[in-house]
Symmetry: none
Subunit: 223 residues, 4 copies
């Protein structure tokens, strides 16, 4: 089970916004400049939030001239997408080390913990992402797409559990997935972006238990 706001977007990295200017560096120097810009952008976005960044702060932080930004990016959207790509690489690693359990409850718990941990790790970028999604249709669509990828996977899992007779058959799998995924991602937002601090373990436990209860999964220990 996985939750919203996570994706690979393999091919959209270069062509995200509007393909007008040059994009990929062709030289080693260019590669270094571009990387410095993305790293600087991340720091600036995290510091100021998506809506408040002064675009010219990014090349300044990266130690290059203001015009250089436009050698690799078309504007705010474009460079923020590059920052998101950076973060996603990290977010995708979370699940890997989890030993896949056959117990549904453990699976849910593991997915929730993984999601919440990576959300916490990237809270400042997620804050920006929320700001971007609320003010820019492009990122709104992006967020929807990422959410849907989660929702679909979780919907498939619910469908499977229903078929196995261990989940409430009256639930629409798609809608239930949508609602439960929303619940987890919103809890994460509240805790880590709005800074309403709750211990991570408590968040994992309550979301897991609610999720399991909601589906009628009682776990191996509740016969």
């Amino acid at each position: 089970m996985e939750h919203s706001d996570d994706t690979d977007r393999s091919e959209s990295r270069e062509a995200g916004v509007g393909d007008a200017g040059p994009k990929r560096p062709r030289t080693t120097r260019g590669e270094r400049t571009r990387s410095a810009l993305v790293a600087a952008a991340r720091r600036i976005f995290e510091r100021d939030g998506y809506l408040n960044v002064r675009l010219s702060d990014i090349p300044a932080e990266a130690g290059c001239a203001s015009g250089t930004l436009y050698t690799y990016f078309n504007g705010k959207e474009d460079i923020f997408e590059a920052v998101l790509a950076l973060v996603e690489d990290d977010m995708l690693h979370g699940d890997r080390d989890a030993a896949p359990s056959s117990d549904p409850l453990d699976q849910i718990r593991s997915a929730n913990r993984s999601y919440l941990e990576s959300y916490q790790r990237h809270a400042l970028v997620m804050r920006c992402f929320e700001q971007a999604a609320v003010s820019d249709p492009h990122f709104q669509k992006l967020r929807s797409m990422r959410a849907h990828r989660f929702i679909e996977r979780n919907a498939a899992a619910i469908r499977r559990l229903q078929a196995e007779g261990v989940a409430d058959p009256a639930l629409d799998p798609e809608l239930a997935s949508k609602a439960l995924s929303a619940m987890v991602s919103r809890v994460a937002f509240s805790a880590y972006v709005l800074e309403d601090p709750v211990p991570l373990d408590d968040l994992v436990e309550v979301t897991t238990r609610l999720w399991a209860n909601a589906l009628w999964i009682t776990g191996p220990h509740t016969p």
Copy 2:
């Protein structure tokens, strides 16, 4: 059971943002002008979103001079608060006509329906509210406060049900309330602001069933 983003704020309406200029009208003409401004503001905010409004469009839409806006409001924050106050008056009426049932499931369903209906009714204002909350600390706090009022009421309900032995005693009432309230409000946001259309009845049913399941409430007919 009720959900986030709803409150009374009875007398604090004017004093929210920055108490600099004159505020309340003292004459009938003033009252009329102020109302026209708030109504116009609602239309403009709904049309353009919180972040994109051109403030001068509001007095223009209201049919008065640009400066008149500042006779009653201190700026964008201030007039948007007045619009929110307008909407809240309406949102508070939703629950009333619901016949209070003794069946917990009916109560949950009724609260959910009421919340979702009013959210739908004011979707465009809620969109602005989300934008405001993400870009302006004042509205972020406002949203938190409103959410907490819901969360506390629902937490109390959960505690009661646990005491009566009809809800999972292992759940932390506060955290469960937080998560489930977030679920409902985020489902509403998704359906009505992000325009991911789902029939209202389906939303009511799935949220209600998930909520009930999550708490182990199965309704009176399923003993």
Copy 3:
């Protein structure tokens, strides 16, 4: 001997700026309102300086409606003139109690002390007057006229002393008066408006001694 910035302006009080609106109150209530406005204006000018006053603060401070100001005054210039008139009444009292001495040095000392004392007493209004004079040709002219009245009186005194053989005959009485009067008024400005504090007695002594020396008056004690 007397110094700049002091005059009676008996007849200019009503007709100073631009005689467009109504001016003098015709009823007792009107008299009270007008006085309250002038008193309030003085407080506001002293608080904010001539250039920074918000005109509408004055009727607010006086406890009447903003429009009422225009019943008696035509604007900032006009009401500030009324404030100046108030202050001048007081400044004219300073000299009176001084026992007229026949010793030129005593006369100079007495005039200087009187000037500096009343400047100190009205420092905040004098600050406004300087601001007004520098930004508004009307008050610039007014200041010049007041200064010239002093200068002429002092020039006459110098001429008399020269005729009596007790003052440097090589000095142009008019120019000398201009320079020495400027010295005293600027010292007052510096001490009381710029808040470069020097004990009053020291100011009196240094200006008096310089003035006397400059004219070659040695006083009765220096034979």
Copy 4:
């Protein structure tokens, strides 16, 4: 002997007001633009006065876009400081060509003439400076600081003359310097800013004679 309102301020020129934006040009083109702006600013300030300038007139006069002003300056204060720096460069040259005389009277005369001549040369800028000093604490402080530099130098000269037994020992050198310096600068202001025209030679003679008399210096030829 020298008089108020003159200083070097060598390297603090840019950092005076608010150090927010980029300031010094790094290219030749930039240097040219900045100079054009300062020169244009001087013309506009002289034409309209410090208080009345429309800031956007300056880049218009300089032949560049309105925003370009903010490439080098933070606003009115900042660019006016640059104009003052320009004028000071010129004012500092005045004294140099004066052949240093050993006669105190000649020294005083020379200092007075130098001061009055450069004041006359920059009368319109001095008018602005007075306006700025009266309405803006930053320039008030600046004026005080410049005045104090003069005052201290002149106080030292007075102290020296007293030690040599050629100046009235009863005078407080600091206060006497303050008063006499104020006299000269105010006479200059009156003649050249207030346009109360007096021949330069007459001003030099009267201020010199008053200054000398006031100190009891009678010149070498009057033993």
